[in-house]
C-alpha cells in the first residue's frame, strides 16, 4: 500500500482503539483513578506522613507519585493491547485486518498507539489526582515525556506478544498478576533500591521496571537511583527487541494464521 493508504489504515486502527477505550471508560479509565486515589490516601497521607523523607527534601508522598503514575501506565498499556487484541482474536474480527492489504507494521503500530494513548490518558488522570495530595515540580520535561512514552511502548509490545500467544482469557490475566504486579512493586515504586542491602539491591537491577520508575522520577523530581544512560539503554533495548518479536509474530502469523 502507498504511504497515504498506510496512514489511513493506521488512523483507522488507532481511532477504533480510542473509541473502544472511551466507550468502556468504566473498565479502562476509572479503575486506575480509584486505585491510585487509595494509594495516595493510604501510602501517601496515612503511612507516608510517619515515614518522612526517603531522599532529603522530598516527602514520601512526593517520592511515590512518579512510581504510581508509572505503575498505572504499565498496567493500562499492557492491559489495553492484550485484552483488545486477544478480544479481536477471540471474536475472529482480527481476520478483518489479517485478510486486508495492511502491512504487519501498520497493525502493530496501530494497536501500540491505542495502548500508548490509554497509558497517557491514565497518566494524566493519576497526575491530576496526585495534585489533590501534593505539588508536582517538573524538573526535566523531556525526560518525563520520553520515559512515559518508552515505558508505554515497551509494555504495549509485551501485551501484544501475550495476546498473540494467549488461547483463552486466563492467559492474558496470568502475566499481569504473576509477573507485572511483583516486578512493579519490587521496582522501586515505594522505596529507593539504595535502601536495600546486598544482594537485594543487585538483584533489583535485573528488574526493568526499576529503570523506568527511576527515569520518570528523575524527570519529575530530579532524583534517581540509577544513571539515565543505563535507563534509556534498557528502555530502548526492550522496545526494539519486543518490537521485533511483535513483527515476527505477525509476519509468520504465529497464533493468528493456521
Amino acid at each position: 500500500m502507498s504511504t497515504n493508504a498506510n496512514l489511513i489504515a493506521l488512523g483507522t486502527i488507532t481511532r477504533r482503539e480510542v473509541v473502544r477505550i472511551l466507550r468502556i471508560w468504566m473498565q479502562t479509565l476509572l479503575p486506575s483513578a480509584i486505585t491510585m486515589t487509595l494509594y495516595f490516601v493510604i501510602f501517601g497521607r496515612m503511612v507516608g506522613s510517619r515515614i518522612g523523607d526517603i531522599v532529603p527534601g522530598i516527602g514520601y508522598i512526593d517520592y511515590i507519585v512518579p512510581g504510581l503514575i508509572m505503575m498505572a501506565v504499565i498496567t493500562n498499556s499492557y492491559g489495553n493491547i492484550s485484552s483488545s487484541f486477544f478480544g479481536a482474536k477471540f471474536g475472529r474480527h482480527v481476520e478483518e485486518m489479517l485478510a486486508s492489504p495492511m502491512p504487519s507494521w501498520v497493525i502493530l503500530t496501530g494497536y501500540v498507539t491505542g495502548a500508548v494513548l490509554r497509558g497517557l490518558l491514565v497518566a494524566v488522570i493519576v497526575l491530576i489526582i496526585s495534585l489533590f495530595f501534593t505539588r508536582i515540580h517538573l524538573y526535566h520535561p523531556w525526560v518525563t515525556l520520553s520515559t512515559i512514552l518508552l515505558t508505554s511502548i515497551v509494555f504495549s509490545l509485551a501485551g501484544f506478544a501475550n495476546a498473540v500467544y494467549a488461547k483463552k482469557f486466563d492467559d492474558i490475566a496470568l502475566v499481569p498478576t504473576f509477573v507485572l504486579a511483583p516486578l512493579t512493586y519490587l521496582g522501586g515504586v515505594f522505596y529507593s533500591v539504595n535502601q536495600l542491602g546486598s544482594p537485594w539491591r543487585e538483584i533489583s537491577h535485573a528488574n526493568p521496571i526499576l529503570y523506568m520508575v527511576n527515569a520518570f522520577r528523575y524527570g519529575l523530581l530530579g532524583v534517581s537511583d540509577i544513571s539515565m544512560g543505563v535507563a534509556y539503554a534498557v528502555m530502548l533495548g526492550l522496545a526494539i527487541v519486543l518490537g521485533a518479536i511483535g513483527m515476527m509474530l505477525l509476519e509468520r502469523g504465529i497464533g493468528l494464521r493456521t
Binding site: 483507522t12 478483518e96 489479517l98 485478510a99 492489504p101
Partner: protein, 315 residues
C-alpha cells in the same frame, strides 16, 4: 479483454500441524468476470483453499495469483484485489454496522469520506441502512450475513469470494442476496461461491469445480457438467388414481402411490413422447417436478465415485 486469469491456483498444498493434509496439490483457474462455484462435501478443503487465498491460512507449498499477483510474494497487492465473505461471522458484535464497514475500508487505505459514502450505498442496497447505527449484535442472522457482504464490498474488490454466504438464511433473504451478488457479477466483479445449496450454484454459476479430500475432482462449465447427467427422474402427480402401471417404452416407471409415479428416463428421449403415451392410456398428469436437483445428483455421484476410487487406490 484481459487475458490474465482472475484466479490462478498452482499446485497449492496445505498440511496442518496435526498432520492433516487438507490440500494435496490443488490447481484451478477462474476467468475474469466469471461466477464460479467451488463445491465439495464438508472437510473437502474448500475453506482451507479460501483461507489461503485470503491470507488467513499459510500454504505449505504452491502459489495462487490474483489477476497475476502472487499471494506469496506480493501479499499486500493481492489482498487489495480480494473481498472475502467468510463462513463464520467475524465482525465485532459491539460495533455498529456503519463503523464496521467504514473501518474495513480504512484497512484498505480508503479515505473516510469515500468509505462513508460506500457504507451508505452498500448498507442501503442490502437493506441494512435502518440498522446501520445500532450495535451489530442486535441484528438477525440474515442481517449479519448481509453485513458481511456489505463489508466485503467496501474495497470494491475485483474478486469476491463468498464462503457459504447464505448458510442458515431463509429463502426470501437468500434470493435477495442472489440478486445482489448477480448484479455485482454483472457489473464486472469475478465471484467465487461455495455453498451447500446446490440449487443456488446451479442457478448462479457458469463454471464449477468440485473438491474432495483435498483434490479437484471436476472442473468444467456448469452446462457441460449438467449434460453429463444422462438419466433424470421425474415425479408425476396424476389427476386420478391408477390401478396398474402404464406400459412405457424407454421409461422406467415406478408407482409411489395411487396418484404419484416416478419416471426415470434417458436424456435422449423427450418428455413429449412420455406425455403422449400416458395420454393415450388415459393417464392425466397434473404436475411434474425433478425428483432431485440435477446438480445434486451429479455432485453425489462424483463424490461417491471419487471416494470409491480413492478407496480402491488405498486398498
Amino acid at each position: 479483454m484481459s487475458t490474465v486469469a482472475a484466479l490462478d491456483v498452482v499446485e497449492l498444498k496445505k498440511t496442518y500441524a496435526n498432520g492433516v493434509e487438507a490440500l494435496k496439490g490443488v490447481s484451478l483457474t477462474v476467468q475474469p468476470g466469471d461466477f464460479f462455484a467451488l463445491l465439495g462435501p464438508n472437510g473437502a478443503g474448500k475453506s482451507t483453499l479460501i483461507g489461503i487465498l485470503s491470507s488467513l491460512v499459510n500454504a505449505s507449498d504452491g502459489d495462487a495469483r490474483i489477476f497475476g499477483v502472487s499471494i506469496r510474494t506480493q501479499r499486500s497487492a493481492a489482498m487489495r484485489l480480494i473481498g472475502l465473505v467468510p463462513q463464520e461471522l467475524n465482525f465485532n458484535m459491539f460495533e455498529k454496522p456503519f463503523d464496521i464497514c467504514v473501518n474495513q475500508a480504512g484497512f484498505y487505505g480508503i479515505p473516510r469520506s469515500v468509505a462513508a459514502e460506500r457504507a451508505e450505498k452498500y448498507l442501503k442496497q442490502l437493506v441494512l441502512w435502518d440498522k446501520a447505527f445500532a450495535p451489530a449484535r442486535a441484528m438477525s442472522g440474515g442481517m449479519k450475513r448481509r453485513l458481511m457482504i456489505a463489508r466485503a464490498m467496501m474495497s470494491e474488490p475485483k474478486l469476491l469470494i463468498l464462503d457459504e454466504p447464505t448458510a442458515g438464511v431463509d429463502i426470501e433473504i437468500r434470493r435477495s442476496m442472489w440478486k445482489f451478488i448477480s448484479a455485482i457479477n454483472a457489473a464486472g466483479t469475478t465471484v467465487i461461491l461455495t455453498t451447500h445449496y446446490l440449487e443456488e450454484a446451479e442457478q448462479l454459476c457458469r463454471n464449477i469445480a468440485i473438491i474432495d479430500k483435498g483434490r479437484i475432482i471436476e472442473n468444467t462449465s456448469m452446462k457441460l457438467l449438467l449434460s453429463k447427467l444422462d438419466v433424470e427422474t421425474f415425479v408425476l402427480d396424476l389427476a386420478e388414481p391408477i390401478a396398474a402401471l402404464p406400459a412405457m417404452p424407454h421409461v422406467k416407471l415406478t408407482r409411489v402411490d395411487e396418484v404419484t409415479l416416478e419416471a426415470e428416463m434417458s436424456r435422449q428421449h423427450d418428455l413429449n413422447s412420455l406425455f403422449a403415451t400416458l395420454s393415450t392410456q388415459g393417464v392425466t398428469v397434473r404436475s411434474m417436478r425433478n425428483k432431485a436437483n440435477r446438480l445434486e445428483e451429479l455432485f453425489v455421484r462424483l463424490v461417491e465415485t471419487g471416494s470409491a476410487s480413492s478407496g480402491k487406490a488405498a486398498a
